[in-house]
């Protein structure tokens, strides 16, 4: 209707009015109707323009209506407004006037409509064929005191599991997409990485979890690995896309089997206005759900009883006069501070820049444990030529991590004095074996300094509208230097006379990628798009560990003070190269029927012989049902409906340093005067790439006008064939395990995602997103079934079971007559004998570590200037094996304080309890259902409040944007096992290093 009017109007008026002066009056607001102050309004290419005033109003004189207005504002999507769209009135004085009411959309709202895809950049959601889930950084509450963005993803995307194994900052986090698709590592074996591939602006990041260095000089003990995602400043990130099915990931070929996470940094805006933003926040955190241990009185009582039960002298239990709170001595209130500054701007000709600097500091819960980081990032976008665009991003970070071990101080006996009467540290016989943690904190050092340079350049050339060529090159360099000193003055270094470890880890990689895409115009019905490219990737990893001991003076902590024979150096250089070709053919008919075929051929230097190259591919299709003519207008309120189906094969080549042909290593040692070779890896002819067959079926539905309700239901079935397993082999072979493609496993599951985006023009605006996923993992085949790999490890691989299953003996309580631990054998008999508990036949499945279902629910509610957001995560059906509980029952009472639950121990005949009679020589049956707990929980993960102040020239700092916010991270967990007064339950046992609850307040200012 409007259009008709316009055309009629233009038709009538055009000849007479063209070329006449036009007065434009307008008001700029955001989606909520709030006036925007200082919006830059530019008139065409003229360079003239104005800014909106305090009420969002502006006035402009233009020569006629054939010009276009460009509006730009920080945090908002730029708006292009051709004036010929406006209704023009002529006043009595002959003055021609247009009155505009312009609404700028926030970036977030806009970006929800598009999704970043592999090698293709952003695509509209309705055109997607594969399984993509995108989340804008703003939705992840990035001000939470989490040092890496992978931790923020928890509970946000269906099927993505984030496992926090430690509360120590800066260490790698385990992320799983759609279950465990490679076999887990048991013991010291080699296993393929189960991490997804993280890709930052087209450049894959290092997977630090893949190196199979357990037991070697380069293991975590000597050189701590740093999570590469900690180097990214969340402030620089725009969005994260998780690629789940084969169609979405196939372009990443051999590294795609575990899913792909694309991280997109904030792009450079084409705005000629200079804008500057500062934000600062500060937080405080306290541990929650700490394991409760015995106090001195309880400890001594229990220790005496234990010693008595073991025919030992109860006096060995020690004094009742010392009350040491070890935890209080090594812990503090942890704090975090973050300061970010962003400067951005551009020229009228379309060039733009964005410079951001960030500083963050995290002081961990333990003294002298923390992370400090500085980031500087520069992005440029320069149109070199009308068809040639250059993009450049350089990000540099330095990070200092301090991580002095406090030797699980919380479990030290509470009746040991920290210091002797003369004030010196207590270093008696006990502390020779378990170092005095307070002394260690004062005398030891453990500092890791890391530097990261990540930069990327891309040139894109579009000779016409149908063809686009792009060259992208990136380098990523991480250098980590760790300095560890164990002082001779305490038990940690006394035996060695002080010991120093220097570890240097240099990871460097480059990627170069050339691609062409061609989308010919074939009329209205057929749409074809072709993509082809090639990529070279080279990764090198250089490691150096130098150790020395017997220092003449404890404060001379440099290797040069030692004679050469007290130092030792180990080096390793690993290089991996990969050459790949990839292509994609996408076709759709009238935006209804989509077909996509894509694939990649990877050749890698790490596999030998014929295994070197592998072609992986996927076929995807989708049907936009709601585009069909017969769909009519929203049956059942459904405005959008789409069905997707995909199948493909992806691979996992990330198994670390390996060769299949058998290796001999030159040792550092000589024998007499000869240089020896020692076998380091056995012959293994059958090792190749893991492949994963992925099938996915999905239904997307949107309800109501503009789809405020969106629902996605996905069903998948992924089969990993040729899974790499570290198969236990007869020890007589000379090895305890070998790697072989000798297993296959399946993950199948259902994912449901539900979004509600409330209308933005209401007084109360509510958004919500809910997701839940169920994944079932089954081991289909393995060469060596039924072999629990290492003694004491409850995990084993059995066909037909989940690969994360636990096996063990069933704990049958405590014999009221004797206080002995009872076990139920496979044939149902109850025994207190230990020998049968070691027989494989008596080990039954106790459950699985994988949850039955898990997910998250987030909410945000806006009212005027207030926004509140909350995030909940939940998990049901998983089990946890609490290994540390095997130190209980008095077994190590002289070395470890015990859980308060030990107070319930059996004491005399007739006592009915689940805690056996404590004694020092009590045999240990670690594979027992007694140590297995259900973890069913609901976590209140975060709650945040944001208040936007009124802004403009009237405010003291003349700011355009002032936000105040406060948030609470990790408010708490509800478990279905009831908590018990003065006893520990799964809530306490779940994390050895307790979780923190943090409160953060902050302010954001923008000019």
């Amino acid at each position: 209707m409007l259009r008709w009017l316009l055309i009629v109007c233009l038709g009538i008026c055009l000849p007479g009015i063209l070329g006449a002066q036009l007065m434009v009056k307008g008001k700029v607001t955001d989606e909520t109707g709030e006036a925007l102050v200082g919006v830059a309004i530019r008139v065409g290419d003229s360079g003239s323009g104005t800014l909106s005033d305090l009420d969002g109003n502006f006035e402009l004189n233009v020569k006629d209506e054939r010009v276009t207005l460009f509006l730009s504002y920080t945090g908002m999507r730029s708006l292009t407004y051709p004036l010929d769209r406006a209704t023009i009135t002529t006043t009595a004085g002959g003055l021609r006037q247009a009155t505009l009411s312009l609404v700028l959309q926030s970036d977030v709202a806009q970006l929800k409509q598009v999704v970043v895809t592999a090698y293709r950049g952003a695509q509209e959601r309705k055109d997607l064929v594969g399984s993509y889930e995108a989340v804008q950084l703003a939705e992840l509450a990035p001000d939470r005191p989490e040092e890496s963005i992978d931790k923020l993803l928890e509970g946000r995307i269906a099927g993505v599991q984030v496992n926090l194994t430690t509360g120590e900052p800066g260490l790698p986090v385990e992320v799983k997409i759609r279950g465990q698709s490679s076999l887990p590592r048991i013991g010291s074996g080699v296993a393929a990485s189960t991490q997804p591939l993280f890709v930052l602006d087209g450049v894959p990041l290092f997977d630090v979890t893949e190196t199979n260095s357990t037991g070697s000089v380069f293991s975590d003990v000597n050189s701590q690995r740093i999570n590469p995602l900690t180097f990214l400043n969340p402030e620089d990130i725009e969005s994260i896309t998780v690629l789940k099915d084969a169609s979405a990931t196939a372009l990443y070929g051999a590294d795609a089997a575990n899913g792909v996470v694309l991280i997109t940094t904030k792009s450079v805006k084409n705005q000629d206005r200079l804008s500057f933003q500062v934000s600062y926040n500060q937080g405080y955190a306290k541990p929650i759900d700490e394991i409760k241990f015995l106090n001195t009185e309880e400890y001594v009582e229990l220790a005496r009883e234990t010693l008595f039960n073991s025919n030992r002298n109860p006096a060995e239990a020690g004094t009742t006069e010392v009350f040491t709170d070890w935890r209080a001595l090594v812990q503090r209130t942890s704090t975090n501070r973050d300061l970010d500054m962003v400067l951005s701007g551009g020229s009228a000709k379309g060039a733009g820049y964005r410079i951001s600097a960030g500083y963050s500091e995290l002081q961990g819960a333990h003294l002298r444990n923390g992370l400090e980081q500085l980031n500087l990032s520069v992005s440029l976008s320069v149109p070199l030529h009308e068809k040639l665009e250059l993009g450049l991003r350089v990000n540099g970070s330095t990070q200092k991590r301090e991580g002095i071990s406090t030797y699980n101080a919380f479990s030290y006996p509470p009746n040991l004095p920290v210091r002797l009467a003369d004030g010196s540290f207590n270093n008696d016989a006990f502390f020779a074996r378990r170092p005095n943690p307070v002394a260690a904190l004062e005398q030891n050092e453990d500092e890791t300094n890391s530097k990261n340079l990540n930069s990327q350049i891309n040139l894109s050339y579009a000779p016409g509208t149908t063809l686009q060529l792009r060259w992208l090159a990136g380098i990523d360099y991480i250098s980590t230097d760790q300095f560890q000193y164990f002082s001779a003055l305490n038990g940690s270094g006394a035996a060695q006379g002080g010991s120093l470890r220097l570890a240097q880890n240099d990871n460097g990689q480059w990627v170069s990628n050339v691609q062409a895409s061609w989308s010919p115009q074939l009329g209205d019905a057929h749409h074809i798009s072709l993509l082809g490219g090639g990529e070279l990737n080279s990764q090198t990893q250089q490691r150096l560990v130098a150790t020395g001991n017997s220092f003449p003076f404890d404060d001379l902590r440099q290797l040069r003070f030692l004679p050469a024979d007290r130092t030792r150096v180990s080096e390793s250089l690993f290089e991996r190269r990969k050459a790949s070709l990839y292509g994609e053919l996408a076709y759709n008919y009238r935006y209804r029927y989509y077909l996509k075929l894509n694939g990649r051929r990877d050749a890698s230097s790490i596999f030998g012989g014929d295994q070197q190259a592998q072609t992986l591919w996927a076929l995807g299709s989708s049907w936009n049902i709601s585009e069909e003519k017969w769909w009519g207008s929203q049956p059942l309120g459904i405005s959008f409906a789409k069905l997707r189906l995909s199948y493909g094969i992806t691979g996992n080549s990330r198994i670390g340093v390996y060769t299949a042909r058998g290796l001999y290593r030159f040792t550092n040692d000589v024998y007499v005067d000869q240089v020896p070779l020692v076998a380091s890896a056995p012959i293994n002819d059958f090792l190749g790439w893991e492949r994963k067959q992925q099938a996915n079926l999905a239904l997307d539905l949107g309800f109501g006008t503009d789809n405020p309700f969106r629902l996605t239901l996905e069903v998948y079935r992924n089969t990993t064939v040729d899974a790499i397993t570290s198969a236990a082999v007869p020890l007589e072979s000379g090895f305890t395990s070998v790697i072989a493609n000798a297993a296959s496993l399946r993950n199948q599951g259902v994912e449901l995602t539900f979004h509600y985006d409330g209308a933005t023009d209401r007084k109360w605006v509510y958004n919500s997103s809910f997701n839940v996923a169920r994944n079932r993992n089954v081991l289909l085949d393995i060469n060596t079934e039924d072999l629990p790999a290492t003694v004491g490890d409850p995990r084993a691989f059995r066909i037909g079971e989940d690969v994360n299953s636990f096996y063990g003996i069933i704990f049958a309580g405590v014999d009221p007559a004797t206080g002995k631990e009872l076990f139920q054998l496979a044939d149902g008999t109850i025994t207190d004998e230990i020998a049968p508990t070691r027989e494989i036949a008596n080990l039954v499945k106790l459950g699985s570590g994988s949850p039955d279902f898990f997910g998250g629910w987030s909410h945000s509610l806006r009212h005027g200037r207030f926004t509140a957001a909350a995030q909940f995560n939940f998990s049901y059906g998983g089990l946890l094996f609490v290994n540390d509980l095997t130190f209980q029952d008095g077994r190590q009472i002289l070395f470890n304080n015990q859980s308060v639950n030990q107070l319930d121990r059996w004491q005399q005949p007739g006592d009915v309890t689940d805690t056996p009679r404590p004694s020092i020589d009590k045999p240990l049956v670690s594979r027992s259902s007694r140590y297995v707990y259900q973890i069913n929980y609901l976590q209140f993960a975060s709650l945040s409040l944001n208040y936007r102040l009124k802004t403009g020239a009237r405010t003291p700092l003349n700011t355009q944007q002032v936000n105040l916010f406060a948030l609470v991270n990790n408010l708490g967990y509800w478990y279905d096992e009831p908590r018990r007064e003065n006893r520990n339950t799964i809530a306490e046992y779940r994390f050895n290093f307790p979780q923190q609850r943090a409160v953060v307040v902050g302010v954001k200012l923008g000019w």
């Binding site: 035996a495 058998g662 040692d669 070779l677 020692v678 007869p730 000379g734 070691r838």
Partner: protein
Amino acid sequence: MKTTNCFFAGFLLFGVILLVSSGCKDFLTVAPADELSREETFSTLRGTNAAVVGIYLLLGDGNYYRDKMLMYPEMAGNAQPALRPGDNLPGTGPTANTYNEAYQFTYQPEYQDNTLGSFYDYLYRCLYQINDVLANIDQLTEGSEAERNSLKGEALAMRAIVHFDLVRLFAQSPQFSSGANHPGIVIADRLPQFTDQQDRASVAEVYAFIEQDLAQAASLIDARYSQRSEGPFWLTSTVITAYQARVAAYLQAWEAVIAFTNALLASPSPIQAAPALAPADRYLEEWRTNQLSERIFALDLSRVTTPSSLGLSALIGAGISEPVLNISSDLVALYPPEDLRRELLVMTGGGGTVSDKYRLDPGNTRLPDPILLRTSELYLLRAEAYAALGRTAEAQADYNLIHQRANPGAINIDLESEALQEAIRTERRRELALEGHYLFDLSRWGQPVDRDACLEFVLTCDLDYPDYRYALPIPQAAIFNNPNLVQNEGY
């Protein structure tokens, strides 16, 4: 338009170069920097030689002869855990643990907190490399046949040595059952297939295999090649014959013991001479300086200088302030007051006794090289053999040679038959104390563990013979991974 074309061409060219180079094989050929592939290793004489030298290195490892293989059998009566103030048994100190369990005979198949558990897999790891050498050496064309044979001989001899150690550790001695039909160990006679789940061979079969390997090794080895440098650190036909003598003694093949020892000792001209006995006047000095002249075979540890891995010295050597082990007073009591060897016993500040055999001088971090064979043992083995065969005079002569070196004033022994046998056994214990023989000897002699000076709170002080604890349990992990293995009876 012209500039556009130029850009376009340059752009494409760059891409083409990249793609062409990706097709290039060289880009993908990356060799590990500090490792050699197996093919490369065995394609040259030099590589094969280095792999053989690697086996010597493996034998001297901390898991094997650096200390454990020598100290474990001594815990049955010659050595005991050193108690420190505040310590009680069972000790829980970081290093004492291993030997506490050996001392108290409290092993479990799970080998919890017990580094002796690595014996099993480590010794088979050695056998992997040995068998890999043997599997490849016949394809080698470099070098002379004699040289290749010599390398093969060394590998065969080492295969015998490792099997001999495995069967002594994990099985009862051949005398345990008639025909030695009781379970021995899995014989590793070829490169393993990971799917193999082999049964334990009988002790008789294992010994037959050892004898066969030694005999073949003796015929192949050539000291021109195997003796790569001066010193007793390399296998030669002398070393192999000495091993043959010891293995024969374990089998109580006394005639063979005499034949093998005579080949090394017989005067006037032995076929291959073992070094002369260390003279009495230099005996102590040579021990203390790691220069014992009568060594037949020792492992070079000159590379091991890190104080934290001081091996035998840290355990029980003179010069260490806090030894992990002490010499048992049972052993001390065996030496007559005038016995030269008593001077090798050194009191520590803490009141314990340690040994000058494994002395560590301040400022000298060179470890004493573990001795696997020396001439004194040959005389003692021959004495045992003569005594067993009733050749009393010859037995007495060999006994006197060893006993009188340490006790110059001692009169000639006049004991006969069983009393003589007992005296020879005691002399063997005195002379070879702390050198890795005692429990193995008790086991082959069928004698009980009889300790007078056990520490307080010890769970097991004495063992009657036979007892299952004369053999270590097969590790539970080995049984899990190879269900065909049978655990030693009793565990």
